[in-house]
Point group: C2
Chain length 306, copies 2
C-alpha cells in the first residue's frame, strides 16, 4: 500500500451543506472519496446521498467515523457550536484526525480552537475560500490555508478537489486573516469605484466611458472592470450580497480591534452599507455601495434593473 | 493635396517642457512635425532644438505662428496664465486655431476657457494624460480627450504621436473630469492596499504572501499587483510622488465641491497624505500612504529602502 493509497483511504466528513459547502462536498464525492455528511437542515443532504454520501444525525457521530472533517458554516459561533457544542465534533474526534474549516470566521477564535484540539492530538487547518457559489460548484475556488506544513500537505489532495488555487499562507489563523485582508481589498476597491463613478455622473461624464478609459491604468481593478459596467447599467443583482459582506466586515473590524490596528476605510464602508440595509437593500450586490454615496449627495436611490 | 497632407502641414506649438511636456514635444518632433516651443525656464528648450524645434520668447509669439498649440503645465493658474496672462496665447491666437491642453487642471475652469476662446473661433480639447514620465518619453500615454468631435478628430493624428490610447470621453471638460475620476480610483485603491497589508502584518501574515494570495481575485487591482510587493519590501521610491498626488486630489475635492457630490474616501486620503507631507515624506511614492495607517496604529514610520 503506497502513501497515496492510504490518503485516498481517508474517511471524509463534511459539516455544513449550504450553497458553498454543498458544492464542495459534492466535488469530494465526485472525486471518488468516502464522504459522510451532516447538516442542521436535513433536507439539504439529499443531493449528496445521490452522489453516494452517508448521512449522520450529529457532528459527534460524524467525528466517530471520519479521519478528516471539513466544516463550512456561516459564522464564528456556528463553528464553535459544531466543534464544541452538545453532540459536537470534539466529543468524539479521534487522535490523529484533522479539521479543515472552510468557513470565514474569527482568526483569533480559530487559533483558540486549534490549540484546544491539539491537546486531543487533532490537527487543524483554517481554509476559507473565495470564488463564490459558482467556484464551489465547479471546484475552482481559491483556498487560503493556514496551518502546520504537515497538516496542510495532508489536506492538499482533498483541497485540490474543491479549489483550483491552494495557497498555504502561514500558521493556523492566517488563512482566516488572509480572507479578511481580501475582504478589505474588495470593499475599499468598491468604494473607489463608487466615489469615482458618482463624480463622473455628476460632471456629465458617461460612467461607462469613464470605466473604459480608466480600467487599463493605475486605477484599474477587478471591481472596476467587472462591477463598474453593472453600476453604470444600474444592475444591482448580487454576485455577493451586502448582508453577507457585512458579516465579513464585522469580522475584519473585530480582528482590527483585537490587533490594535486602524481600519478607517473598512469601518466607513461598514457604516455606509448599514444605511443601505436600513433601506431594505441588504439582498442587493455589494456594488450597491454606490447608492450610499448617491444618498450622501442627496440623489434619490434609483430603482434597479432586476 | 489630400486632407492628410494638409493635416501634416499644421504648424504645431508646445508650451511647457517639463518632465511630461518635454517628452511629448520630443515625440511630436520625431514624428516629423513642424514644432515651435516655449518654456518659462529657457534651458529646457535645448533637447527640443536638437530635434529641430524652433524656440520663441513668449506664448503670444508662439500663437502668432502656430495652427495647433499644445499646453502641458502644472496647475490651473498656470494654464490660465499661459492662455490669458500678459503675452499669453490669447493675445495672438488666430481664428481657426486649436488649443490642446495636456495639463491636469480644473474641469470647470477648462469649460470657461474653452468658451472664451470659442468667441475668438479658437477650438479647445482638454487632453490630460496618464502613464507617467516613462509613457511621455515612449509615446505610450493614455489620453482622455474632451471636446467637440471635429476638434478631437483634428487633434487625433498628433495625439497618436504622444499616446497609445486616445479616448474621446465627451464634451470639453470631461477629459479633465475623467482624469480626476482616474485619480480617485488610484488613491482609494491604494488605501485598500495599505489598510489590508497593515492588517496582514499585524496578524502575522506575510504581506508578500497576502498579495500573492489575493491579487488574482475580486480584491485585485493594479495597485495591489504593482505597489503591494513594493510596500512589503519597504521600497517607497516614487512612481508618482505624494506631493504631485496631493495637487490632483485638491482638484478632485474642488470638483466634488462644485458638483455637490461627496468625496468621503478621497478627502480622508488627502488628509492622511498631509500627515506624511508634514513629516517631510512628500517626495516619496504615493504608496507611502501605508505609513499614514501605520502611524494611526502607533507604529513608528520605518526607514525606507531608497
Amino acid at each position: 500500500m503506497t502513501a497515496n493509497d492510504q490518503k485516498s483511504g481517508d474517511r471524509l466528513g463534511f459539516v455544513g451543506l449550504g450553497i458553498m459547502g454543498g458544492g464542495m462536498a459534492a466535488n469530494l464525492c465526485r472525486a471518488g472519496h468516502d464522504v459522510t455528511v451532516y447538516n442542521r437542515t436535513a433536507s439539504k443532504t439529499k443531493p449528496l446521498t445521490e452522489l453516494g454520501a452517508t448521512v449522520v444525525a450529529s457532528p459527534a457521530e460524524l467525528a466517530a467515523s471520519c479521519d478528516i472533517v471539513f466544516v463550512c458554516v456561516s459564522d464564528t459561533p456556528d463553528v464553535e457550536q459544531v466543534l464544541f457544542g452538545a453532540s459536537g465534533l470534539a466529543e468524539r474526534l479521534r487522535p490523529g484526525s484533522l479539521i479543515i474549516d472552510h468557513s470565514t470566521v474569527s482568526p483569533t477564535r480559530t487559533r483558540d480552537w486549534a490549540k484546544q484540539l491539539a491537546d486531543k492530538d487533532v490537527g487543524y487547518v483554517d481554509a476559507p475560500v473565495s470564488g463564490g457559489s459558482e467556484g464551489a460548484a465547479n471546484g475552482t475556488l481559491s483556498v487560503m490555508a493556514g496551518g502546520e506544513q504537515a497538516a496542510v500537505e495532508r489536506a492538499r489532495p482533498y483541497l485540490d478537489a474543491v479549489g483550483s488555487t491552494i495557497t498555504h499562507v502561514g500558521p493556523v489563523g492566517t488563512g482566516q486573516l488572509c480572507k479578511l485582508v481580501n475582504q478589505v481589498l474588495v470593499v475599499v476597491s468598491m468604494l473607489g469605484v463608487a466615489e469615482g463613478l458618482v463624480l463622473a455622473q455628476a460632471g456629465g461624464l458617461d460612467p461607462q466611458v469613464a470605466v473604459a478609459a480608466t480600467k487599463g491604468g493605475a486605477g484599474g481593478s477587478w471591481m472596476l472592470a467587472n462591477r463598474g459596467p453593472q453600476i453604470a447599467a444600474r444592475d444591482f443583482r448580487p454576485g455577493f450580497t451586502i448582508d453577507l459582506q457585512q458579516k465579513d466586515l464585522r469580522l475584519v473590524l473585530e480582528a482590527a480591534d483585537e490587533l490594535g490596528v486602524p481600519a478607517v476605510a473598512t469601518s466607513l464602508i461598514h457604516q455606509l452599507y448599514r444605511t443601505l440595509q436600513a433601506e431594505g437593500l441588504g439582498g442587493e450586490g455589494n456594488h450597491g455601495l454606490v447608492k450610499a454615496i448617491e444618498k450622501l449627495a442627496g440623489l434619490t436611490v434609483r430603482s434597479d434593473q432586476r
